[in-house]
């Protein structure tokens, strides 16, 4: 009898949108049936339609979105009894038309190969999909052969800087010393980024396997996964995976009987953004204050406890088993130029279909944003794509055909970063965007060097002045000057990249700055000090909805009389616009 498999996405995003209830309902409905298998899986990536439930039956897959317990029941009824119709919730189907078929079809899933497919807490499912075969193969190879394979694949560090992974391993292997370490950077700190979390929650074994292979290649005896404590589910699933891998002989002493020993522990970070910087991360593991130190020496020479250390991020490690299984050539067939393989992005902002996507390197921004993400909302136009997290840059609409590869992105003034991609439309104020991101990095500065500690603070002060309409053209010159110095003189990546949002918006959107300064006007009508809310007396029907909605009592007016807003009391929250039934309220 052919079995049916039902998968429920239970990563953080799914749980947050109510997938646990769906899973519980399904479990109680399916209890006692052995022809239907129910699985908890990780994130599929279609975050905009969570919770997601997938049914696999007769070699065909059907993915449903926005599933409630009731809908789940209907899905079961449809697939098991052939009753009813749940077609309107169908997101993806391998057997016929579905709204997001093309969205998924444009993606190449190497890193996310198992996410949403397997139960991350069951090593058997990982093994069933070819897991740990790469390790077995690697252990038959010499370390140099592995390094060669990784180098041949063209894999570069997915944490953002894009340093060739094979080369990093080679340096670490060549560094003198008996004791070496492998560290996995899972301190994903960019706000809105969740690439690594999805992998850790959905496919932790792929990271472990990548680390073990790395350890064998560089001669390390111990590994640490530095994971932020804000990812409790990831930490828990890593713990489970490590236990299972040890029990299965993939980790610990004498791995697979080869005599090679390597073990991994998880270290939880306390939430400092700068601890994602490798030297600060290492200091944090050692129990010291999480402050970066100057490089050289690089961790490959002197890393954890002063020993040669490979430090790669989650996504980088997750690629490794695939490369060893499918070969360097299969990997490098994707991508262009010096950027090979795929890259996972967390697509967010004003885009219609936000979520996690994995695309081959070299795909254009336009294809990602419009082809996969569905563009921006009706009546709006894309203004820019902000790439690379808070220290990334804004790429304007005119450059939307830029291929996503390290060199091309860097040429725009943005950075590849770890995979944050925020789409901005005509309702986004670019000065405010720069201020927003700088506010984040400024608050996360560790304070060690003056350029970052004081420089970003002074930059932020200038941006705040401009947003308040108090900026001068001298401020603008000073801002630009300071940005260049902060970038040039800061100690670590945080400070060196913190000015990027400012520099790129100055480069592509200087007119918006000038409008704030010269005309005291915010073209996108975002900066609250420069806008006013106004009720058109001709349109207002005097329904008093806005009067009741206003949190500060700034609106007054009799029933059936035109209302007015007292500007000095108004806090520009915009709630009145939301409730007005006749669009009588506008922003000036």
């Amino acid at each position: 009898m052919a079995t049916t498999t039902v998968r429920v996405g239970l990563a953080s995003c799914g749980i947050a949108s109510g997938a646990t209830l769906v899973f519980e309902r399904l479990r109680s409905l399916l209890s006692g049936r052995d022809d239907v298998k129910l699985h908890k899986v990780g994130c599929v990536g279609l975050c905009f339609r969570e919770p997601l439930v997938e049914v696999e039956k007769d070699e065909a897959r059907y993915l449903y979105g926005e599933v409630t317990p009731e809908i789940a029941e209907a899905i079961l009824a449809f697939h098991l009894q052939g009753e009813g119709d749940v077609g309107e919730r169908l997101v993806f189907s391998s057997a016929g038309a579905a709204p997001e078929n093309t969205m998924l079809a444009k993606q190449v899933r190497i890193v996310l190969r198992n996410c949403g497919q397997i139960d991350p807490e069951r090593i058997e499912e990982y093994i069933a999909r070819g897991g740990y075969q790469a390790l077995a193969r690697a252990l038959q190879m010499t370390p140099d052969q592995i390094i060669q394979e990784v180098q041949a694949s063209g894999l570069r560090g997915r944490g953002g800087a894009g340093f060739p992974t094979g080369l990093k391993w080679k340096f670490t292997r060549a560094a003198p010393g008996d004791v070496k370490y492998v560290v996995c950077n899972a301190d994903e700190g960019d706000p809105g980024a969740f690439m690594d979390r999805s992998v850790l929650e959905g496919d932790p074994h792929s990271v472990l396997e990548g680390m073990i292979i790395c350890a064998w290649a560089v001669g390390a005896c111990e590994g640490t996964i530095y994971c932020r404590a804000e990812y409790p589910l990831a930490v828990r699933r890593l713990g489970v995976a490590i236990e299972q891998a040890r029990a299965a002989g993939y980790l610990g002493k004498d791995i697979l009987g080869t005599g090679f020993s390597f073990d991994i522990r998880v270290k939880e970070g306390a939430g400092a953004f700068v601890c994602g910087e490798e030297t600060a991360l290492l200091a944090s593991i050692e129990g010291r204050r999480g402050m970066p130190r100057p490089r050289p020496p690089f961790p490959a020479q002197k890393g954890l406890w002063g020993k040669p250390t490979v430090i790669n991020n989650v996504e980088t490690f997750a690629n490794v088993p695939w490369i060893l299984t499918h070969g360097a050539a299969a990997f490098s067939q994707h991508g262009i130029g010096q950027s090979r393989g795929t890259k996972v992005f967390a697509l967010a902002g004003k885009v219609r279909k936000g979520g996690l996507v994995e695309v081959p390197m070299g795909m254009t921004l336009r294809e990602i944003v419009e082809g996969i993400g569905g563009g921006v909302g009706e009546g709006h136009t894309i203004k820019a794509v902000q790439m690379g997290g808070p220290s990334g840059g804004c790429i304007p609409l005119a450059l939307l055909d830029t291929p996503v590869d390290y060199e091309s992105i860097t040429a725009t003034g943005a950075i590849m970063g770890s995979g944050g991609m925020v789409v901005l439309d005509d309702t986004s104020c670019m000065v405010d965007v720069a201020r927003f991101f700088l506010h984040f990095t400024q608050g996360e500065s560790c304070g060690k060097c003056p350029f970052c500690r004081v420089g970003t603070k002074r930059m932020l002060e200038i941006l705040e002045r401009i947003c308040r309409g108090e900026g001068t053209m001298e401020d603008l010159a000073r801002l630009e000057e300071l940005s260049v110095h902060v970038k040039d003189g800061s100690l670590c990546g945080l400070g060196q990249t913190a000015p990027n949002p400012v520099l790129t918006t100055l480069r592509y959107f200087r007119h918006e700055y000038e409008a704030h300064i010269r005309d005291k006007r915010c073209p996108a009508k975002v900066c609250t000090a420069l806008i006013r809310y106004r009720i058109d007396p001709a349109k207002c029907i005097g329904c008093t909805l806005c009067v009741r909605q206003c949190p500060v009592g700034a609106i007054s007016g009799e029933r059936r009389q035109a209302h007015t807003i007292r500007d000095e009391a108004c806090v520009r929250c915009g709630q009145c616009i939301g409730v007005c039934p006749v669009q009588a309220i506008s922003v000036e």
Binding site: M291, R293, L491
Partner: protein
Amino acid sequence: MARTVRVLLNGREALGYPGQTILSLCSECGIEIPTLCHDPHLSVHGGCSLCLVEVKGARTLIRACVTEITPGMEIRTDTERVRLARRTDLELLLSDHVGDCRPPCTLTCPARGDVQGYVNLAAQGRYAEALAALHENVTLPASIGRVCPAPCEEVCRRNFVDEEPVSIREIKRFVGDWCLNNGGLGEIPRIEENGKSVGVVGGGPAGLSAGYFLRRLGYAVTLYEKEQHLGGMMRYGIPDYRLPPAVLEREIAWLVKHGINVKRNTALGRDISLDALRERHNAVLLALGCWRSLPLRVPGEDLPGVLKGIEFLYDVNAGRFPKIGPRVAVIGGGNTAMDACRCARRLGANEVTVVYRRSRAEMPAQPIEIEEAMEEGVQFIFLAAPKSIEGTGKVERLICERMELGEPDASGRRQPVPTGKSFVLEVDTVIVAVGQAPDLSALPVEIRGERGPKVDEHYATPLPGVFACGDFRTGPDIAIRAIGEGHWAALSIHRYLTTGAPRRPYECDVVQRDLGPADFADREKQPREHPKVLAPSRRLKAPFTEFNLGLSEEQVLRDASRCMECGCPDLHECRLRRYAVEYEASPDRYAGAHVSRVEEANPFYVRNMDKCILCGRCVRACDEIAGFHAIDFVKRGFEGSIAAEYLRPIEDSECTGCGMCVQLCPVGALVEVRVQRRMHSAPLHQVPTHCGECPVGCDLLLEVEPPSGRIVRVSTDLDLARSVSFGNACARGRLAPLASGENRLTAPQLRSRGGTRPVRWERLLDEVSSTVREASTTGKVAILAAPDLANEDYQALRQFVSATAGALVSVAAGPSPAPLATLLRDRWRTRSATFGEVREADVLLLIDARLETDQPVLASWIRLAMRRSGTRILAIGGELGRLAKGDALQFAVPPERYAETLSALQDALQGVNSSPELERAAALLKEAKRLVALVGSSVATDDRTAQGVIALLEAVGQKKILPLYRETNLPSALELPLTPWEEVLASVRNGETTTLVAVGVDPLDVGATEDDLRLLRRLVLFHHRRTGSLPLAHAAAPLAWWPEREGTFRNLVGDILTWRPAVPPPGDAKPASWVLTGLTRRLGGSVPATA
């Protein structure tokens, strides 16, 4: 290691070592790379970002302090990119560095007089030094102290407390007068000629100052003066009743004596041309002043009886009293008008009226001048403008128009607006004092501007080598500005003649602008002193005699001590400021928010975190040199700070107050607890010596303020090879010398009926020696000596004793571990362990040790060893203090049980009668590879303890013992033929000993009572302080203390160390050896030839 790494440094090849940093290579090549966080004695931090350099191929600028050179590296340290980055870095630091570099008074003074410096020297009665401090910036101080409107006083923060400033001007005047009346204005220094010459045109305050400062730099200076006398406007513009010419002349004479060649009666354009001057000199400075009176531009201005203000004053000052009528109108509201109207009164005019266009509030003259003029009977008509002067053949009346005040004009003053209403003033003389301008007629056109000479901010005119300054450049202004102008112009000329480009010195000062009365609410109110001024009626009777009599000395001392010392105590040491000046950084370019951090003081130092630049040197100094971890970074980013653990008060931390953090702080965030009335004007000079506070004898640098001759800071030399103390010191060593001036005995004194009286040393020594001679025939003489005297003192004491025949000698010391030292010598034939061995030990056996109180530096070393190399501690008795950390093993037993504990340990080594604790201790002793035993004084009370220590160490095969005693030079003292102090005391009590000579110790402090001392016929006290038994002493005399004297002593490990005098002893204080030798001589004893 060989120099094998070839790099390109600023385009030139340089060879360095593998692993060498760029910073180190640069310093070897003589290229100074600025850095604030880096220190060779500390681990690398890389935070301050000042050492940035450009390396070819690198994406960003590179930190020279951490980056190692690699073959072929191309480094540039001198590019615009590097310089701008460093400047921006400094500007960012300055924007978050809150406080005052120099105090507001100094910054407001146009000549940047070091007000805090000279006022505080005056407060100490050091007038000659105060004058020298003045002469660094303010020439003619006695004269300026009479005529200056004192803008410094307006900003004095005493205004916040008393609503009245410190009397800065009067203090300055007093200092100048005092020196003029007491030995002159100071010695003329020998000037090293540099072979270049400068011509200065104009002998007023600007020209004179420029000449003086140029002379100090070695230039040959010729001063060309159009008048007979020097002094310019101060001589010919200011009336004698405000500035007596004699004062000015004496001050000028002193300046000229520096070698200024003066050509009088020589006017530019009349007697000599600019071309000729340029021919003759390497540079020419034009300081011609502002001598052209501006016309009134009304009809009748040319009538006889209309005088020009400045020319009127000139005539008065030249003694050619101009003819004026009984009714005089003076037109104008400035200082010239005030001088003119008051002179007119003094020349006999009985109706003098000042006519001024605006109201009193807008008058540019000093309020005090207006007030004094009114007191002297001058009438004022405000809001009136002359329309015409009328008369037949001479002035008869002045027609004026009433004005009213309108909108403010460019100067901020309200503009007078005509009302159309007129009135008539019947007068005989009109003096027009409505402004002055420079006379440009002697200038070539290319440097002639519209209102003055063409001149830039560096005082340079478009003609190469021709400069201009003073009123000539600025228009009429106050004298002190002209003095400043002369100074800066001189320095700009110096730059021009040495580098080719004129440049005035760059000033960089952080200023705190947000202070108000509330910030000084805790200050005690102290009213200002006011000078004695003659009554107006008496002034007019002696019209050209000075009427302000100044402050008395008592008043000056009181008023000067009102100074609150607003400037940064680290002004001269601050590296941030030094670099900021070098890179011409602006503290305001990136002005913005600042997170205020509380200023906190503890007994040792002041932590002003508002000035902290987070370089982390203090954290590393504490951790890596001092051996503790009292402080660390707290919070993050812009809110980051340095604090003790858990943000608790520093007193609750591991801090011992050793001061290493303070020593290494590059700015004024950490400073020593301040010496009262600290100076501010000069860098310190360092005198290396040894600490006399405990027997370790740490190497110290006593830092002395040259003008006041006081120790104001104690530091150490971390680079001193073979340092006794490896650069460490403790709170005692750091602080005791700062208090060296307190409570001192300063003169020999003898007691007779009716009290004590000071006497000369000869008289005292005669008296004491005859007392001793006499006493040794009638009873016994006893000598009580301190255990911290110099070897030379003990040598002299030995001779003194033999000269007295039979005197008892006693040393005021606690029990000594001498028996142990004897045992070491006799049994092991070895000397005690060295400090190096203590620092290197892996296990330390502490018996009866109280290191933190008795030898604090040892505690520091041991804590460092515990934290760095895991050194283990096993303690019996004593006090562990901060060493009681981690797995320190402690047997807290009283001294009488030391021997017992030691033998229990012996048993445990053999595995018998053991407890778990003893077992662990025994295991530790057995494991030890480099064991050192530190044994305190109490072992002396029980013979078995010393034996026990030796036996225990023999049992584990280790032979390193350091006996610990507390007194600085105890072993040398113990070599004297001693009688126990108890016995001496008994012989005093039974009347046998009738005379006691105490040297460096007060008997009351070592167990004698006042009653005991009253039994004595004679008590002689030699001491450096005024101690308790002083009222009982028949003779007493002051000793020099260790920071003030030369001498040797033996420290804990037997090294002979030398004290060097850093400061003179107070008053007549002398070293004990000098005193004792003097006595011995008088007693007919033999003395060493050198004594």
